[in-house]
């Protein structure tokens, strides 16, 4: 299996006035294609920082980062934007849908930035909305959708660009447990198709629906174990 993500001795500190806050103190980690990894840890353990660096939204101080075999180094904002567009899909806790665009338009957005034509991107977006079970809701605005539906739109959007890796930051953080399982069910199905997914979460049950859990504590990896996946479909009627 090809290594999708490979990081070596990743360090990151934030300057807070005169004090510097050392958040990541040397992370070595790799993920292969088709993995579903949960990154766990208490707040302040650096899990979101790690995800942001992996997502090219933030830059590490030192260390190496290979994404799909490419060394990510000295990216300017334009290049980072291109890489995010081509290689990465994001799912956020607060959904981050554009509120004046309907579900379909939200899903087409990454395709727009890929330079795809209107018809083609709508067709493709529709396909992914169908995949997350929201075909009939394509023309609804985000505020007409429930939390779970919004997150499924966000998943469809992350999928639409057909990225190498999908990064999810507390994707169930704003949802109740039933809805959370529904969303995880979708994530698992996507993973079954071979997509590499990294999920940051602090919820144990969500973490156990992944295939591997990494525990972060005080900026280092405390534990990295493969687990037996709990299928979310068991909880979904």
């Amino acid at each position: 299996m090809a290594k999708m993500i490979e990081i070596k001795n990743l360090q990151k500190s934030y300057q807070m006035g005169k004090n510097s806050l050392h958040v990541l103190k040397g992370i070595d980690f790799s993920a292969e294609e088709g993995e579903l990894v949960a990154i766990m840890g208490s707040s302040g353990s650096g899990k979101s920082t790690l995800l942001n660096i992996l997502g090219l939204l933030d830059v590490a101080d030192t260390g190496e980062y290979h994404l799909d075999g490419k060394l990510i180094k000295n990216l300017n904002e334009t290049k980072a934007a291109k890489y995010r567009n081509q290689f990465l899909g994001f799912i956020f806790q607060s959904f981050n849908l554009i509120n004046y665009k309907n579900a379909l338009e939200n899903v087409t957005l990454p395709l727009y930035y890929q330079g795809m034509g209107r018809k083609e991107r709508q067709k493709k977006a529709m396909k992914y909305l169908e995949l997350v079970g929201l075909k009939d809701w394509a023309h609804h605005l985000p505020n007409e959708l429930s939390g779970g539906q919004k997150q499924r739109v966000a998943i469809a959007r992350a999928m639409a660009a057909e990225p190498k890796v999908i990064l999810a930051d507390e994707l169930t953080g704003a949802l109740d447990s039933t809805t959370s399982y529904e969303v995880m069910d979708v994530i698992q199905k996507i993973n079954d198709q071979g997509n590499t997914i990294l999920v940051v979460t602090h919820e144990n049950d969500i973490a156990h629906m992944c295939k591997r859990i990494i525990y972060l504590k005080d900026g280092v990896i405390e534990e990295d174990k493969k687990i037996k996946q709990v299928r979310a479909s068991e909880y979904v009627q």
Binding site: N52, L57, A81, N96, I98, Y100, K101, L109, R118
Partner: protein, 420 residues
């Protein structure tokens, strides 16, 4: 550049503009108002300019009238208070000595400067009217509009001292029947019969003219009223590029020399300088045009700054949206272009609507002032000025869009995403 002409770019911008209607409308109003004021003001100023110009169209714009008074200084053995009489020769000397003079016409008048008016009789009707003696070239200085079928004097009239006359509109009304053609008819002036050859349309060029004036050839006037070589006043038209104030000074200087008047005697000769008045009014009108341009442009500027302001606020409001766009792969350039194109697009739309509204108001003003005695004609704005205004708006729209655009990309996407 390809980005600007890409249909997708515009669909994205239309989407953003269309779905934030209130924001769009508020943004547009500022510039719309600005360009509307600009068009209306500048167009009205132009209308006034045209109106003034029209008021002066009957007279050569560089014309003046000169007459003699009495001296106020003793000179060359003459006492002060000597009254001066202009002679026919004076005109020839003036024309020879002052190259700026294009036309000069000696004029004699009766019933204008204190003497009694002539009585005109026709059948049982009569009235008293001022009578002027003109040479044909006078028509070049002050265009006398003659009604159809009629004519002004010609050389034969002058050379043969024909007894022909051009009468005023009022004279026609008072001496002729309503549906009677006055041309070819006869009127009696001081026991001499004159044939009417034309009726002039009255236009006020000098303060003492009126619509009853009767014109006869200068040579005829001289004979029947015993004027000899005397001339009451001269009408002078200078070339268009001549300085009419200087011409007036030269004319007076030449006349002083001819009549042995003290070179510094300001009172010996009087002049009514239409050219100077015309220039002053046109200067005033140009001033108004300039002022309206400045006010209009300042209003546009204020409107554009308003657009920039609202975009700046909306960029703040849209921090999250722009963060999402960048997380999904929008490059800083694409984000910047989107904001700038939104700004330019809104400015253009506002500008075009403003121009249309301004044009509507101008044409309404035009029809409202039609037929009213008000110097306001054909209020138009030259196309280059309109295009210039649009260009200014595009440039300003871009420049003002740069500020929010730069702000939009100065926030890191990760910080932008955190903002709720």
């Amino acid at each position: 550049m390809k980005f600007i002409f890409d249909r997708n770019t515009w669909q994205e911008i239309f989407g953003s503009i269309q779905k934030n209607k209130v924001r769009t409308i508020i943004t547009v109003i500022g510039v719309l108002w600005g360009i509307f004021i600009y068009i209306t003001l500048a167009g009205s100023a132009q209308g006034m300019d045209n109106g003034f110009e029209k008021s002066f169209e009957s007279v050569a714009r560089n014309s003046l009238f000169a007459w003699s008074q009495s001296t106020s200084k003793p000179y060359a053995g003459y006492k002060t208070g000597r009254s001066i009489q202009l002679k026919f020769r004076d005109g020839e000397i003036l024309a020879n000595k002052i190259p700026e003079i294009e036309y000069i016409a000696p004029i004699n008048a009766r019933g204008v400067f204190g003497d009694s008016a002539a009585t005109a009789v026709r059948g049982g009707k009569s009235g008293s009217y001022a009578v002027y003696g003109y040479i044909p070239v006078y028509a070049k200085i002050a265009t006398k509009k003659i009604y159809d079928n009629g004519r002004f004097f010609n050389r034969e009239d002058m050379e043969q001292s024909r007894k022909v006359c051009v009468i005023g509109e009022r004279t026609q009304q008072e001496l002729f029947e309503k549906d009677e053609d006055p041309i070819g008819g006869y009127i009696r002036l001081d026991d001499i019969y004159f044939q009417v050859v034309g009726v002039h349309k009255f236009t006020q060029t000098t303060p003492f003219e009126n619509d009853g004036d009767i014109f006869i050839p200068f040579s005829t006037f001289k004979k029947i009223f015993n004027k000899g070589e005397n001339v009451d006043f001269f009408a002078i038209a200078a070339y268009d590029d001549a300085d009419v104030v200087q011409v007036e000074k030269d004319v007076k200087a030449v006349l002083r020399r001819n009549h042995k008047v003290h070179p510094e005697d300001e009172r010996a000769f009087g002049a009514f300088n239409l050219g100077e008045i015309f220039n002053r009014i046109m200067g005033f009108s140009k001033g108004i045009t300039f002022l309206s341009l400045i006010v209009g442009l300042a209003t546009i500027l204020a409107g554009v700054i308003g657009i920039g302001n609202i975009l700046l606020i909306s960029v703040k409001e849209r921090t999250n949206e722009l963060g999402i766009r960048r997380a999904l792969g929008a490059t800083p350039r694409e984000v910047r272009m989107q904001i700038i194109l939104e700004s330019v697009f809104l400015t253009m739309i506002a500008g075009i609507v403003g121009i249309i509204l301004g044009a509507i108001v101008l044409s309404a003003l035009n029809s409202a002032t039609e037929g009213i005695d008000f110097p306001y004609t054909n209020p138009t704005l030259p196309i280059p000025l309109v295009i210039g205004a649009l260009l200014i708006m595009v440039v300003l729209g871009t420049l003002i869009g740069l500020i929010p655009a730069q702000r939009a990309v100065s926030i890191k996407p990760i910080d932008a995403l955190r903002e709720e």
